[in-house]
Subunit: 368 residues, 2 copies
């Protein structure tokens, strides 16, 4: 189905909004109260650029929540079950955030900018409110606010060349999730080796919202000889790569153990963190659900608009969050959250598509 | 500009989604992580039905946050600066929610379902996370969750007749914001005299998400003889009526005093509430900004995609959140948040539209 999106003042525009319109954006979603491009109308071309070339994405909607002040580290550590004791300035870490019941409410990257300054680069939920509430009630001496920081992703195998032409040799030496501040023609940016694909690349966090078009144009110009073009987080590639999309792939009451994030939970650390008691119990009881890859039989499926149910024989065993036809595998690949009681070699699994049931088998992720 | 909206599994569908598609919905926004209709492609007809007839709206995206348990009242009162001491079962109250800095983070209606059960019917921000964080840190004995409750609004001067045909005489006797549970052909609903217009009407909170199409069809059938048709929160009428749209009309760091909600703040109550100290100070210092109505000179303006700046002479004095051409007044009406230093009879105000400056005068709201 095709519907228009209402464009009005309630939803924020990205600093790159005007540039994406000029570049031919065809569709948006809304993410963290901001418009985010989801299509330039050329699905095959956008996929190809990401897999074989280089693509640039307005992901400003990946907003930042800044924790700054004497208690910033205390708050950062209290917010996540991950042990941050060896976290150093310049480093980024993937830090799932749980509520007091141990349910994941967001899965940000945390950037350590200084001993007393952290950014949470968030998925689509109001971590700003969550962190403000916690800081306020704990009476932590910390300011929690949204800084002027808007990521522009450069992704794909040729991303490294584009970034080298822009900044020189040093970005290529950054380790995964590490970052450094820099200037580009006077535009302040933070360059991080990150991005929501497994094709390699960087995110340039624009640090002056007034310079969105300037940065976009500069990157487009540098990327021209590598065939750069506009794109967006690619739903096919992200399924092939098994990247979690918080909100799409999981039930809202999922523990980290139920969405493949158990390895980030350190129950043995001495420090308190939100959800510790609940997660201890969840770990002892064992997870009720698991996130798995599925290969769905039959001809190529279009992307799903709704979640689909997964059955083992006649029993409803969970939900499939996302399916995509992989051009590389020539198979339908899907991510699903199903009961742990279902064995990985179960032979009688089906997925209930709008046009009938399809056989499915569980497989390891990433698919490629 | 016209763009498509991405329809996928990450964003929730309303229980009325299928019915609105069948009814010819043309455009959506995303609100509380759920698709919400914003257009059926007939702006004039939709406005006319609301002003002169009756209109039905899928406003399921107006999600509920349930507070339930022994400490539910304690939490409800702690969340809002409004004094809830005389709150009774069956009543609804408009309860702005502030953070510890005294900034408004949402402006819900609170429904008291029982002495130990409250629903916050929210605007677009994650009050669920906010309330869970507060409850968790205060160690309140209360469950905070999203119940299965999805409002369907019936608005307009003939709404009362439609609801009388559906339920009998009692809904007409409900006072504003009051509610009662009922059944309609076995569909559980909560009937409230409320809705985001000033044309009168009700909201039927569907209490079983599986019965969305059934409820929609039942209301459409009952409304047929009154000329009912599909609609959505109407941006023209809401400006004429001076209804606040949280997120569109206000800066994110606004106190209640700066968005016309000062009357809901009770600083004298003995009970503690979040932001009390900050609001006391804000009240003593006096607000820096005020929300005003503007009449913008010149020919009919289209609705604004971006916020516009407001100037007094050459001085930037604030922002206009929304403008609409009022078919009834035959004038451009707008809501703006500007410096309190600007007098209400200021003669040299202009609004910076994309096609140049327009003169504006401050006027009382509602406009009609």
């Amino acid at each position: 189905m095709a519907f228009q999106i209402g464009i009005g003042p309630r939803v924020r525009k990205s600093p790159f909004y005007d540039a994406t319109v000029k570049a031919g954006v065809a569709g948006f979603t809304i993410y963290n109260h901001m418009y985010m491009p989801v299509s330039y109308g050329d699905l095959a071309g956008e996929y190809d650029r990401l897999i074989n070339g280089v693509s640039m994405w307005d992901v400003a909607a990946e907003r930042q929540v800044e924790l700054k002040g004497p208690d910033a580290f205390k708050l950062a550590q209290y917010l996540t079950p991950r042990n941050l004791s060896r976290f150093v300035v310049g480093q980024g870490k993937y830090v799932p955030i749980c509520n007091h019941q141990g349910h994941v409410i967001n899965d940000p990257i945390c950037l350590k900018l200084a001993e007393d300054q952290y950014w949470l680069s968030i998925a689509d939920s109001d971590v700003l409110l969550w962190a403000q509430a916690i800081a306020g009630e704990k009476k932590f001496d910390v300011e929690v606010r949204e800084p002027d920081a808007s990521p522009l992703a450069i992704q794909g195998p040729k991303a490294e060349q584009v970034v080298a032409d822009l900044f020189g040799a040093w970005p290529a030496k950054l380790k995964y999730f590490w970052f450094r501040k820099a200037k580009l023609d006077g535009i302040p940016v933070l360059v991080a080796r990150s991005g929501w694909s497994k094709q390699g690349g960087f995110e340039l966090y624009l640090l002056d919202a007034n310079k969105g078009t300037q940065l976009w144009d500069r990157v487009a110009k540098a990327g021209k000889k590598y065939g750069i073009g506009p794109g967006c987080p690619n739903y096919i590639e992200r399924v092939e790569s098994g990247l979690l999309s918080y909100g799409a792939d999981n039930a809202v009451d999922s523990t980290p153990y139920e969405i493949g994030l158990g390895k980030y939970v350190d129950l043995d650390q001495r420090t308190a963190f939100i959800g510790k008691a609940a997660l201890k119990k969840a770990n002892e009881d064992g997870p009720q659900r698991k996130t798995v890859g599925l290969i769905v039989a039959g001809r190529a499926l279009k992307s799903n608009e709704h979640r689909w149910r997964v059955f083992k024989g006649k029993r409803d065993v969970g939900m499939m969050g996302v399916v995509a036809y992989s051009p590389r595998l020539k198979k339908n690949v899907a991510l699903a959250q199903i009961a742990t009681s279902v064995k990985d070699d179960a032979s009688d699994l089906t997925v209930q598509t709008p046009s009938g049931a399809r056989k499915a088998i569980i497989t390891a992720v990433p698919f490629i």
